[in-house]
């Protein structure tokens, strides 16, 4: 088991509001790490810090260090564009570009110059769509608009889009919250299949989902990391009472 990303003593602020308070956590390769906790507990903020998506938020600031393969992601020589290519992200609401399915997947490789020529690009698009479990459904309509797909298909298209730039880490911010149970089941299946290749961090409000898909679980409360460990331990034998209350549905 290797540590892919590690956060040490990370605090995050939006203006005067402290959203994260001295959080230290590791994200391991070939593992799914679930970030759980009530709304406003800072789990999404942590996720967005991992590929510096919060840079664009006015008034947001961060303390502490976050490392990717031992390299500080806030270092001067760290190119944020390259960081986001290595640490891909899937969002809460499916957000395909208003372009064709093909162009949605091909966009990342194109701007990063990852594929030479049409043939190579075709191959990348097909591989990514296959890994996202979407290929068989869309292979005959790659020129259709991505926005014309169903919600679940759109989310898998967004996953394919993230996979196409060959990332090492995939961050998922409540990827199923806008989907129906069947589409959710497919995404969960997909997360299980992707685990072997990537380090995955997923924010979820769904306890069963966290228990089903993850190997590690981190429980956040009021900006603090309350408990972090193997998913089986957290769900069967939580140490903190707040964790126990949350996962048993006492509040949340």
């Amino acid at each position: 088991m290797t540590v892919k990303m590690s956060a040490r003593h990370v605090s995050a602020y939006y203006g005067d509001l402290r959203a994260l308070d001295d959080v230290s956590i590791d994200i391991d390769t070939q593992h799914v790490t679930a970030l759980i906790g009530p709304s406003g507990c800072g789990k999404s903020t942590l996720l967005r810090l991992l590929n510096r998506m919060n840079d664009a938020v006015p008034g947001a600031r961060v303390e502490g260090s976050i490392e990717l393969d031992g390299q500080d992601i806030h270092a001067r020589d760290m190119d944020v564009v390259e960081l986001r290519a290595r640490v891909g992200m899937v969002f809460q609401k499916p957000n395909p570009f208003p372009k064709s399915i093909y162009d949605n997947v091909a966009y990342g490789p194109r701007i990063h110059g990852l594929a030479r020529g049409r043939g190579e690009l075709d191959a990348v698009v097909e591989t990514s769509l296959r890994r996202a479990g979407l290929w068989d459904e869309v292979k005959d309509r790659l020129d259709d608009r991505g926005t014309a797909l169903s919600g679940g298909q759109q989310q898998r298209l967004c996953i394919a889009r993230a996979l196409a730039v060959d990332p090492e880490v995939i961050l998922m911010d409540e990827p199923c919250s806008a989907l129906d149970p069947i589409a959710t089941a497919r995404i969960e299946e997909l997360i299980g299949a992707l685990r072997g290749r990537y380090a995955i961090a997923i924010v979820t409000h769904n306890m069963q989902q966290a228990a089903r898909v993850s190997q590690r679980t981190a429980f956040f409360y009021a900006g603090r990391l309350v408990e972090y460990g193997d998913t089986s331990d957290i769900f069967t034998n939580p140490r903190a009472t707040s964790t126990k209350d949350y996962i048993t549905g006492r509040y949340g």
């Binding site: 990063h112 967004c158 730039v165």
Partner: protein, 378 residues
């Protein structure tokens, strides 16, 4: 309801007065040019007009009018009547060899009397005598000639061309600069006292009366920079200053409409801020930006006051053949004609207003069409 009634009244008035402006009254005039010392075979190229004029064509036409209608004959014809004969002869040089009958425009008093039955007693009486020879025809020259002292010869081509050149300069300058400013303010500028000041200035500039921009153009472009007076270039620059804030404001609105989820999607796959703007934000905002540019352009097209101040109100009898040549613009031409005493100009004014309104209708309709099309596609 009241607004609709007013609009209907406006359109009806303009249409009733204006439609006859596109028609002109002609009189059948027997002409005999066989004595004219011109060789039909030499009537080629640029010198042809000069040859016919030099040979006394105008006098021959006057003589023909005297023979046909009596001693006041020449005064019944429009100033441009002999030019109609000249152009006919140039098209068919064989007319020099035999007597022929040609329809030439009459003077504007007879024209009005024939169309509307109004005018002084003697004019009406003279019109009645001529009536069998009078006829109406579509006034093609109205679209091909420029301003003239005689309303039957005056046309809008010069003003229209001046307007189009001016608007071209305006949009070519204001659109790129305005869009660039909007992109900078929305995407790159960090909110600060400085950008706040810029924002307030832009909003205030959009509300400044247009004649103030005319003064600015006069002082800056003509006074300080010494640019030529009455030129479409200067008119375009001045109107660009006026249109710029409108375009910046609409473009910023369009850029703000781009959903944040799309920005995140692009950033999430590692698009740089510049790639984000050019690959995602601008294509999505394009319909809104385009609509803003067209509406700004339409406003500039109808603008008169700033152009008056920079000298685009001169009497200019030839269409401008360059950006720095003296020109006038369609709304200014309307203003100038509305000032004229001669009754013939009333019709010209209305006809020019119809052309201007149609032009604006086409532009605004285009904006609506583009917007609808772009919305269907996304």
């Amino acid at each position: 309801m009241i607004a609709l009634a007013c609009l209907a009244f406006l359109v009806a008035t303009i249409a009733v007065d204006g439609v006859t402006g596109f028609v002109r009254t002609t009189v059948a005039l027997p002409v005999d040019l066989t004595h004219l010392p011109v060789d039909a075979r030499t009537l080629t190229g640029r010198s042809a007009n000069l040859a016919l004029t030099g040979a006394g064509l105008e006098r021959s036409v006057d003589a023909a009018a005297t023979r046909a209608f009596g001693s006041d004959g020449p005064t019944l014809l429009g100033d441009g009547a002999w030019l109609t004969v000249r152009d006919a002869v140039r098209r068919h040089p064989d007319l020099l060899a035999r007597p022929f009958v040609i329809h030439v425009p009459v003077t504007s008093a007879i024209d009005i009397a024939y169309k509307h039955g109004t005018g002084s007693g003697p004019v009406l009486a003279r019109m009645q005598q001529l009536k069998p020879a009078l006829d109406s025809e579509f006034d093609r020259d109205f679209f091909t000639s420029s301003d003239a002292t005689d309303p039957t010869r005056a046309g809008i081509w010069g003003a229209l061309k001046g307007s189009l050149l001016t608007i071209a300069v305006t949009l070519l300058l204001a659109t790129p600069i305005g869009v660039a400013a909007a992109v900078y303010l929305e995407e790159f500028a960090r909110p600060s006292r400085w950008t706040g000041l810029i924002e307030v200035s832009i909003n205030n500039l959009a509300a400044v009366p247009s004649i103030i921009f005319g003064l600015l153009g006069l002082a800056l472009f003509l006074g300080t920079l010494g640019m030529p007076r009455s030129a479409p270039l200067v008119g375009g620059l001045t109107l660009a200053l006026m249109t710029l804030p409108v375009i910046v404001i609409t473009a910023r609105g369009a850029i703000r409409q781009v959903p944040p989820s799309l920005r995140e999607a692009a950033m999430g796959v590692g698009a740089s801020p510049v790639q984000l703007v050019f690959h995602h934000v601008l294509p999505l905002a394009a319909p809104g930006i385009l609509t803003g540019a067209i509406i700004g352009g339409a406003r500039a097209l109808g603008e008169t006051a700033p152009l008056l101040l920079i000298g685009m109100r001169a009497f200019i009898a030839a269409a401008p053949d360059g950006l720095t040549r003296p020109a006038t613009a369609l709304p200014v031409q309307i203003f100038l004609w509305s000032d004229q005493v001669d009754g013939g100009f009333v019709e010209n004014t209305s006809a020019a207003i119809i052309v201007l309104l149609l032009l604006l209708l086409v532009l605004n309709g285009g904006a609506v069409y583009w917007r609808a099309r772009a919305e269907r596609r996304s």
